[in-house]
């Protein structure tokens, strides 16, 4: 027991140092966590960012050095970068729209009561459990006219002139990985939106029904506003994930034919691990990071503006 703990009766109870209590002590308590976060997140991030301003070629460490903005100047004039950026947009947008539409539909369906609902629910979530590598391989075989049924069905429906592999056609190749990605990504929206749907109070619908609202009005005036916060956050997360998600493309088309399915993240991979140019790859990564950050900021601002809950 220290002497200070035992107070003499009647002693003035002076407030301990204000600076110590409010500015130093709390931060000492959380400092282990701060140090840990700095070590595992900030340090690698800063090192990664710093590569963009250097020449880093993996097998020639001696040739490295600071090059200023040279990597970014190269990026500006790089036709492959602009092409990959354009592809990234279509890949993300195409996958997201269908994933969201089907996911929402499925969630609405699963929110009703029908026989065998539990089984359907389990099946619906299955794609989420399949490794992406396997998903990609399976879909690429499905698109192969020698052994897969899809080209023959598409030809029979008149969508294709003859059964051929769309993965080999630059105008259509992107639809291959997008299809696989839609199949893979529906459960995410279905799960999260179903959870949000189940939290909407039933009385609201009853009241609406008494007031004579049509099902469409109930959907637009009750369901959508209640789902909006969840939609905003899931769409934002999913956009970022899809934009960074090159596994399906890598296995199904390898970015080809003729770069028609190369997206930014697969281009970053090629630059880093085939060209072994980590400096330029890092500059590309910064471009992608900035775009996604800007997107997230815009989406969050929109959410604050339009979503009232």
């Amino acid at each position: 027991m220290s002497a200070s703990a035992r107070r003499v009766p009647g002693e003035t109870r002076a407030r301990p140092n204000f600076i110590w209590r409010h500015l130093i002590e709390p931060y000492l308590y959380i400092s282990p966590a701060l140090v840990l976060i700095a070590l595992v997140m900030v340090v690698p991030l800063v090192i990664g960012l710093s590569y963009a301003f250097q020449s880093v070629v993996l097998l020639r460490p001696s040739a490295g050095g600071w090059v200023g903005l040279a990597n970014f100047a190269q990026l500006w004039g790089d036709a492959r970068f602009w092409r990959a950026l354009n592809n990234t947009f279509w890949w993300t947008f195409g996958s997201l729209v269908f994933q969201f539409a089907f996911g929402l539909g499925l969630a609405l369906l699963l929110n009703t009561q029908f026989a065998g609902k539990r089984l359907v629910q389990a099946l619906v979530f299955l794609p989420w459990a399949v490794p992406t590598f396997l998903t990609a391989l399976t879909w690429s075989w499905l698109f192969n006219p020698v052994i897969g049924p899809l080209p023959h069905w598409l030809a029979a429906l008149g969508i294709l002139s003859e059964p051929f592999n769309i993965l080999g056609d630059p105008a259509l190749a992107m639809w291959g990985p997008i299809t696989a990605n839609v199949w893979f990504g529906i459960p995410f929206f279905a799960i999260t939106l179903l959870a949000a749907l189940q939290s909407i109070p039933g009385e609201l619908y009853e009241a609406a029904e008494i007031d004579g609202a049509t099902p469409w009005q109930a959907f637009v005036k009750i369901t959508l506003p209640f789902l909006a916060p969840m939609i905003a956050i899931t769409v934002m997360l999913r956009t970022i994930w899809i934009a960074n998600f090159a596994d399906l493309i890598f296995v199904m088309t390898g970015g080809g034919p003729a770069n028609s399915t190369q997206i930014l993240s697969s281009y970053i991979f090629t630059t880093a691990f085939r060209k072994l140019d980590f400096g330029y790859a890092s500059a590309l990564a910064i471009a992608l990071l900035s775009l996604l950050l800007a997107y997230a900021v815009v989406l969050l601002a929109l959410r604050r503006r339009f979503v009232r809950i």
Partner: protein
Amino acid sequence: MKKSVGLAALVGLLMSTAAYAETLKLVEVITSPERTEVLKGMVEEFKKANPGTEVEIVSLPWGQAFEKLATMVAGGDIPDVVEMPDRWAALYAGSGQLMSLEDNIAKWQYGGNLTQKTLDMGRLAGGKAYMLPYGFYLRAMFYNKKLLAEAGVANPPATMEEFMAASAAVSKLPGKSGYCLRGGPGGLNGWIMMAATMNGTNEFFTADGKSRINEPGSVAGLQFLIDMYQKGYAPKDSVSWGFNEIVAGFYSGTCAFLDQDPDALIAVQERMKPEDFAVAPMPLGSAGKAFPTIGFAGWSIFNTTKSPDKAWALVAALSAPDANATWAKRVGVIPIHKGAEQDPFFRTPQFAGWFEELNSDKYVPTTMPTYLEQFGYFADSIALETSQQALLGDMTAQELADEWAAFLTEEYGKWKAKQ
């Protein structure tokens, strides 16, 4: 006291096992389950002959091998012995990471039995034998006898014109195509071969260091493949075909011609009757010559190894005539020792095409300029993208040739500057 004695004993034990059980790390990069089994068997033999030496085999799947090995090496997890494909040799030899095997080969009992080609290829990157090749991949033309007969083509094509005409004839059959074109990964060999054959030379660079790929003859060679695809003599999706797809295209009877190495023979023989196909030499160009590409892979030792003698002993064991013959038969390469073609295994009609190419002066085996540091990137990324653009009509043969020439000339300049 007791504690410290126990600790000393433990340290002693650890040190003694470290001294006795020497472990060599062997990385193989062109893998398949069967191939790894063969390698394991050969390594077992080595371990029996060298008690106390352990060998840890790391198998990297070919698709990701390049970046995995590069990352391993950059991260300090450097193997002792590595299977080195020709196209990476310059990268590692150029950065001074490989051990020269010259002295070891000179002292080796089988050193004098190696063919001159083996030694030349081993020295291709960096001038010294930084690898001991284990065999060669030489291109020749597989053809489907049944399809040719149906299309009314009597003999396999001897010239490029006949090749185009025969492909056109087969493509008239419903659902069939002439040529299993490799437009996807690994397609560069085909482009280079056609360019050299039409240009009448397999020199890559002129005396003043310019790439010859955009000379008119070479451009005609590139145009040849573009025509083949655009006229429909190759399947529509062959624009993205890699090795597995072209071989499957051939044995499934989808297309009648396939230019490939002996390693394709393994899969083809399993699925086709010997009387339904054969292998002819590559068709000749206007100069009366053909330039089939020859590729190779071998064993290299990293100079960071702690036991260079043991590592060499392992390479020597894998490369001894008996072991090499076993390996060559199982992985589909042409062996490295003199007199190997006398082996009954290689004296079949299927192998005739390759040995005719090796023995006739009409055929000049062509090595790719793998000594250029960025060659792997050129072959796997730049050439792949741009050749697909050309096949699809987004780029002319001349534009394709000019783009390649610019890259190769610059890389050659860098290489020259270092010599």
